[in-house]
């Protein structure tokens, strides 16, 4: 295989990868239930503390 032919293959592979990323096949699907993810958020916490813990584990920092 020549470098030129490999380059075409690489571009196709990259596009497949981007599509995989877009469609979410690269990761396990999100759970639809509202169950808490992390043990620290379970049972012992009061509802306010649970929401605070959820906020800590969230998402994108501003």
């Amino acid at each position: 295989m020549t470098l030129q032919r490999y380059s075409v293959f690489a571009i196709i592979l990259f596009l497949i990868g981007v599509f995989t990323l877009f469609s979410g096949f690269n990761r396990a699907p999100f759970r639809q239930t509202p169950n808490q993810e992390h043990p620290a958020q379970h049972s012992q916490a009061l509802p306010e503390q649970t929401q605070t813990a959820a906020a800590i584990c969230s998402p994108v920092r501003q």
């Binding site: 295989m1 490999y6 690489a10 990323l21 990761r27 999100f30 969230s58 998402p59």
Partner: protein, 136 residues
């Protein structure tokens, strides 16, 4: 099989394992507040792109012929391995602060990223020796 081929296959295998790792050892599947993905989702989306690039570059090791090109490729693979190690750090994108599924995934990806970095370094060393004419 010569040393270069062994390193090329090693880089390709490590990259492929890293690419599919989040499917085998999944990260957190919950949503923060039931609405938005957590930090680890974004970190591993970025990891996917980086490992995809590592796969492509590792594959190109089999078609490159000159020592200079192979050396440069090894350098980029080394840097990509470094990026794989950096992304889950809290000062980069980060993962969940509490213990969770993403910590387990990060453990394995850290090992893989380290091995990929080492493979890149060995590729650089091997091809710098070749380009200096020390070995054939």
């Amino acid at each position: 099989m010569n040393q270069y081929k062994i390193l090329s296959w090693t880089a390709l295998l490590i990259s492929l394992v890293l690419l599919i790792l989040p499917r085998i050892v999944p990260i957190c599947t919950g949503l923060a507040g039931g609405v938005q993905p957590m930090q680890c989702h974004y970190a591993y989306q970025a990891e996917f792109i980086v490992t995809l690039l590592a796969v492509i570059l590792s594959g190109s090791l089999f078609v490159l012929t000159t020592s200079e090109a192979r050396l440069l490729n090894g350098l980029v693979i080394l840097l990509l391995g470094g990026i794989i190690l950096i992304l889950p750090q809290p000062w980069a994108i980060g993962i969940c602060p509490e213990a969770g599924a993403c910590h387990k995934t990060t453990f394995f990806i850290t090992i893989g990223g380290g091995l990929l970095t080492l493979t890149g370094a060995l590729l650089i060393w091997l091809n710098s020796r070749k380009s200096r004419g020390e070995i054939q």
